[in-house]
């Protein structure tokens, strides 16, 4: 009697396992063949959200230029370049592209260096803060460990176990911090790559391949940068220009501006009027 019962039990067990495996397979495949009407695939409505909170700050100083501003159906920063050198930070790339295309590289190099220096500073300060936090945690762990060891001689095993736990958690935190550091370094490298890439792209021509609608745009240099660098080809925004004392000069129907010894030409770029530093027009 035991034989048939064993066989039946085994068979039923196999059948249950098989049905469960089928159900898991169907779930993994996104409910193929079922679900929404019109042959639609399952696309989750959930997830996402969260994100950063808006913490206020000054009204000005935010860039309006970036890849999404162009409303293009293509982007030169393709997935192929993501793993290579082409993936880019939007604002950094924009500013780099705006300032580096043209005859003068002085202003753009200075700005790129400034940005890189700024990012290095931030990276360094993050690293220092993380090191300090790590050090503080280690100190605290050490103090706790010592006091526990003093007070709880008889509980060596449990104390050791706790210490091991703390060490593992501390190690975990260090790993996370290292990961974050690595992430920051990666982002920094990406931004620098993007700045170089887009600069190169613009020197080689405006656009990639046939995707003519891939607008990237120019953006002007900030006032702080321009204050010391008046290289020909440097572009400043209308806002920055408005802080200068200039006189309007019309030559052959084209409007120029003389601001001290520096000549500017108002130009249309992207969706803004910007001012580019030029050599004095003929006769001036």
């Amino acid at each position: 009697m035991k034989g048939p019962i064993l066989y039946k039990s085994l068979t039923v067990g196999i059948l249950i396992l098989f049905v469960a495996a089928l159900a898991m397979e169907a779930q993994a495949r996104g409910g193929r063949g079922g679900g929404g009407g019109g042959g639609s695939r399952n696309i989750s409505r959930g997830g996402g959200g969260g994100g950063r909170s808006f913490s206020g700050g000054s009204a000005g100083g935010f860039s309006r230029s970036g890849p999404a501003a162009g409303g293009s159906f293509s982007s030169s920063r393709s997935s192929a370049s993501f793993s290579g050198s082409g993936f880019g930070g939007s604002s950094v790339g924009t500013r780099s592209s705006g300032s580096s295309q043209g005859s003068s590289q002085i202003g753009s190099s200075a700005r790129t260096q400034d940005r890189q220096a700024g990012m290095s500073d931030r990276t360094a300060s993050r690293t220092t803060a993380q090191t300090e936090r790590q050090s503080a945690r280690t100190d605290r762990a050490s103090v706790q460990s010592e006091s526990q060891a003093d007070r709880q001689q008889g509980r060596t095993e449990r104390t050791t176990s706790r210490q091991d736990g703390r060490t593992e958690r501390a190690q975990g935190r260090q790993d996370v911090q290292q990961d974050r550091q690595q992430e920051v370094t990666d982002r920094q490298a990406n931004r620098q790559d993007a700045a170089r890439d887009i600069s190169d792209d613009y020197h080689g021509g405006y656009h990639h391949g046939d995707d003519w609608d891939d607008w990237w745009g120019y953006a002007a240099a900030g006032a702080a940068v321009v204050a010391g660098a008046y290289a020909v080809g440097t572009v400043i925004s209308a806002t920055t220009y408005s802080s200068l004392s200039c006189s309007k000069v019309i030559v052959n129907g084209i409007t120029y501006s003389q601001c001290g010894s520096t000549w500017y030409q108002p130009t249309y770029s992207g969706s803004d009027v910007t001012y580019v530093v030029i050599n004095p027009p003929a006769g001036h």
Binding site: G38, S63, A68, S81, N190, W215, G217, Y218, K248, S271
Partner: protein, 272 residues
């Protein structure tokens, strides 16, 4: 039944079931997908062909787009745009940005004029041809921002075929009381979603572009309203009333070109 036979029978049933529901091979699956009608792609291409063959239209857009700042903070900016198109060679875009800046971009078959009333400045680039030529010149040669410019050209179906990797139908969603097919389209570098009415003219009601390879994956969105396929604009609608005291300026791209002449082979369009 003999226990042995019972087991053999059950195992045979299992094998049969496995064979029936076994996943298709990749090749079979691809062949099936190719053979099956793709309602999402059909809907997308119907819209593309419909827009490309329109003789004239006017549409209003409310636009928003993310700009990921150097700090990593994502900021949304906005604007309103109105397009008036009379094919083959008349086009006008009226723009009002969220910061109050206004601009008009006009193509009259002979030249493109961009006018900034707030600054009382305008720029002109002479180029003859149709709207397709003018739009490409505007973006490629003059580097003027023209969001969703692909929707303006008659080669839209071809352009989409070149860019789209796959299209899916998400659901039927109701936008402003109109049931629309919500399409999710994947491209190499840009994914987009489009909402197209299920009945009537397949004119897009909403588009969302996602720049998936860019930092922070910024998005661009546009809500379309008041599609008018017979705007009948007056003849002078495509000539801007620019004040006499307005300053004529050049496009930055033109100035750049004069500073660093481009290679002859790459020089296109009618930039002056």
């Amino acid at each position: 039944m003999n226990p042995m036979k019972w087991t053999v029978c059950a195992v045979l049933c299992l094998i049969g079931a496995v064979t029936a529901v076994a996943p298709f091979s990749a090749a079979e699956e691809k062949a099936l997908e190719a053979a099956a009608p793709d309602p999402a792609m059909e809907s997308l291409m119907r819209t593309a062909h419909f827009l490309a063959q329109l003789k004239e239209f006017r549409v209003h857009m409310r636009i928003g787009y993310d700009v990921v700042q150097e700090s990593g903070q994502k900021i949304e900016f906005g604007e309103r745009r109105t397009w008036t198109v009379v094919r083959p060679d008349r086009f006008r875009a009226d723009v009002e940005r969220s910061d109050g800046e206004k601009a008009a971009i006009v193509f009259d078959g002979k030249a493109i004029t961009v006018y900034h009333p707030n600054l009382n400045m305008y720029a002109v680039s002479e180029i003859s041809g149709d709207i397709d030529t003018a739009v490409k010149h505007l973006i490629k040669d003059l580097n003027v921002r023209m969001p969703l410019s692909l929707l303006l050209v008659t080669s839209l179906p071809k352009e989409l075929e070149k860019r789209v990797v796959r299209a899916d139908l998400v659901e039927t969603s109701v936008l402003e009381g109109t049931p629309c097919a919500h399409l999710a389209v994947r491209g190499d570098a840009v994914d987009f979603q489009m909402w197209v009415p299920i009945e009537g003219d397949p004119l897009p009601r909403r588009i969302v572009l996602t720049y998936k390879n860019d930092e922070g994956q910024p998005q661009f969105w546009a809500n379309f309203s008041d599609w008018n396929l017979t705007p009948n604009p007056p003849a002078d609608f495509f000539s801007l009333d620019i004040p006499k005291d307005a300053s004529r300026i050049q496009f930055l791209a033109q100035v750049r070109q004069s500073m660093t002449p481009a290679k002859p082979a790459e020089k296109k369009g009618g930039a002056k």
